[in-house]
């Protein structure tokens, strides 16, 4: 029977990030205001009550500030005793008078501090926790936890086994939504729990040697289509996020979208050996008595009560298991192996578009396949590199914790560009007598199946209409566990003229980066190999091309992200090629052309390797 697990997490955040700005409008900043502290604790109590009255246990993540508050500490002890809640420790909620006085900074995101400060803060916070409770926590977290931070915590406090470690697709989009003022750049991570590698939090561990020793959970369970396209903070299992997105009826205060989101996550059990997961983690600032955004307090409160009631109802119906974070870590270790992928066939549940995406994540890659673009790969993160990417003050990436992409259709264009250059995408063009059709324009849907180690995405066939022949083509995409490769088969199911022949051009346009803006491509190398012959191009923005009939491999090496990406092929008349970009189109292209006749198949593999 399928198992749907939920983690409900509350934090007594004595000075919520948002509440001080809102409740304090028109007043000079005072994070020690009694009214603020009292309100924050009241909200925490209300959240706890909402969960408990629906029969749900919680994880209480004590904040640094709350460890100085006797009532908060006492409440945590009581709720642990009465309801079985786990007493945990978060690295969110650092701001308070004591913290400011000690560290002389207004920084509050643990991953942005220098390593020296991270260590000092962790020792301080964990020490204070021990002083108040007499034991160390088994779980912790923040919006993001960099690998160096996790490794340090695990070394100093080996009992920690679970952490909130990223917020899915919170990056440039969130920054822009906040008028370029919210510096949480952490795109490119897993959307569901994973075991982070020691080298890079976002990249799952491939084996025990890489295992950081914790199970990571995402901050919220987010809409895998809406958050990819738009502001992440509107579309998650956070009832007030749904209100922020204005996804409710203003006259009835109904928001079926929240339940659809939870239910679609439940449905993911079908693609993950019967397991699905949700996480709800609402900070007190979101249930501010002053209201938030356009929503009055009563609506904020109602939405949280409704969210808990729905999880409670599912539990009563035997469709949900509530766990604390540390319980979940044990469950996850038992349930999942290192190389077992996380899969999500996800449909639009909000905009009425019938669009469908497939997300795949394993220790070697994170991939998004877009069925509305004929099965094109529109996002690709090469986890295989296990990129060492320290973040925080004193590192090359002070705020930018995102895992770099090779393909990202939103930041570096996809199929459509403004009439010049190319955008990043992995697709194919079918050609006949001078006519050309890109599969990106063939909208379809897909089904998922599992065959041993293979996760198979079978797309519904599409018709490609040329002036004198129609081609019925089917795409099948196979992810073989542990292979670090994506196999794409193009089957010609039917030709209106059985004697006709079409040509196919399988291609990948790529680059690298973490934002919308281009990086320096000068260190890249492109190559096409056939037998003993190898043509190599050092990237100089000269718009050069090279090809080889019968090529064994076409590849690009990207030293800045320690990645080598290649295409290999099996098919009639195959010719491999590489294309350098130019200043207005700072991309590279790898591809294979070939020919196809009725009932034939053309197969390519996209392979990812760690460079050197």
């Amino acid at each position: 029977m399928d198992q749907f697990i939920v983690n409900i997490i509350h934090r007594p955040e004595m000075v919520p990030e948002y509440a001080e700005k809102i409740t304090g409008q028109g007043k000079a900043e005072d994070i020690g205001r009694k009214a603020l502290l009292t309100e924050s604790l009241d909200i925490f109590k209300l959240q706890q009550e909402c969960a408990h009255k629906n029969g749900l246990k919680t994880t209480i993540q004590m904040t640094y500030a709350s460890l100085f508050n006797d009532e908060a500490v006492q409440l945590a002890k009581e709720h642990h005793h009465t309801y079985g809640d786990e007493i945990s420790l978060t690295l969110l909620g650092l701001p308070c008078e004591q913290f400011r006085e000690k560290y002389k900074t207004k920084d509050f995101c643990i991953w942005m501090f220098s390593m020296e400060d991270k260590k000092a803060i962790v020792r301080d916070v964990f020490g204070k926790f021990y002083e108040r409770f007499g034991f160390y926590p088994e779980s912790t977290g923040s919006y993001y936890m960099d690998a160096e931070l996790i490794n340090f915590i695990k070394e100093e406090y080996p009992m920690v086994k679970c952490a909130v470690a990223t917020c899915w697709e919170e990056g440039p989009k969130a920054y822009h939504t906040c008028n370029n003022s919210w510096y949480t750049f952490m795109d490119g991570g897993p959307w569901a729990p994973w075991i982070p590698s020691k080298q890079n939090t976002h990249a799952p561990a491939a084996n025990a040697e890489e295992d950081s020793g914790i199970v990571a959970i995402p901050h919220l369970s987010r809409d895998l289509m809406a958050c990819y396209d738009g502001n992440g903070s509107n579309f998650g299992t956070h009832p007030q996020n749904v209100l922020r997105g204005m996804i409710y009826d203003t006259s009835t205060w109904e928001y079926p979208y929240l339940y659809n989101l939870i239910d679609q996550y439940r449905a993911l059990a079908k693609y993950n050996n019967g397991y699905a997961y949700n996480m709800m983690f609402v900070g007190p600032g979101w249930m501010n008595k002053m209201g938030r955004w356009e929503a009055p307090y009563e609506l904020l409160k109602k939405s949280y009560e409704d969210g808990c009631a729905y999880y409670g109802q599912l539990k009563k119906e035997g469709k949900l298991i509530d766990m604390t974070m540390s319980e979940f870590a044990d469950y996850y270790r038992e349930k999942k192996g290192y190389t077992e992928p996380e899969c999500a066939l996800w449909r639009d549940i909000l905009y009425g578009s019938q669009k469908q995406l497939f997300w795949y994540c394993d220790p070697y890659m994170r991939v998004c396949v877009n069925m509305d673009q004929g099965g094109a790969i529109v996002d690709l993160r090469p986890y295989v590199a296990k990129l060492n990417w320290p973040v925080g003050i004193g590192t090359p990436h002070i705020q930018d914790a995102s895992y770099p992409f090779l393909i990202q259709e939103k930041y570096r264009a996809g199929y459509f560009t403004h009439y010049a250059g190319e955008g990043t995408v992995r697709s194919a063009k079918v050609c006949h007598n001078g006519e050309e059709v890109d599969l990106c324009l063939c909208r379809t849907h897909a089904r998922f199946s599992q065959n041993g180690k293979d996760r198979v995405l079978t797309l519904d066939p599409v018709d490609i209409e040329f002036s004198d022949v129609t081609v019925k083509l089917q795409t099948v995409i196979t992810f073989t566990e542990g292979s670090s490769a994506i196999k794409i088969d193009r089957h010609i199911l039917e030709l209106s003229d059985p004697d006709a022949q079409v040509t196919i051009n399988e291609y990948m346009v790529g680059c690298y980066g973490t934002t919308e803006y281009t990086e320096d491509m000068s260190s890249l190398t492109l190559s096409v190999e056939a037998g003993e012959s190898r043509t190599q191009l050092s990237y100089e923005y000269k718009c050069r091309e090279a090809s080889a009939a019968g090529a064994d491999r076409a590849w690009c090496k990207l030293p800045p992200i320690n990645t080598l990406v290649s295409l290999t092929c099996e098919g009639r008349d195959k010719t491999g090629y590489v294309k350098e970009g130019y200043a207005f189109s700072p991309m590279f292209t790898l591809g294979y052309t070939g020919t196809l006749r009725d009932k034939e198949v053309f197969t390519t593999w996209l392979n990812l390797e760690k460079a050197n």
Binding site: G230, N231, N260, P296, W346, I349, S353, Q354, Q356
Partner: protein, 75 residues
Amino acid sequence: MAQSGKGKLNFRCPSCFMRDLDIDMFYDKDKKEYYCIRCQYTGTEKDVLAKNEIVRFRYRDMMRRFTDFEDFSEG
């Protein structure tokens, strides 16, 4: 003219919201209107609420309850 402040709720600019920008507006009590400091939108509370209904145009399935996530036959 006195300084502006927040209104009774922190209404966001509906025009900026449509381009995925969350900008709290300020309230000009002399003109009895909200205004955006990022773009040129101004409006009364009534107008803001009306525009907030319009921004929901893109949520065509906002009130639909899904029971099957692989069935596209219902349109």
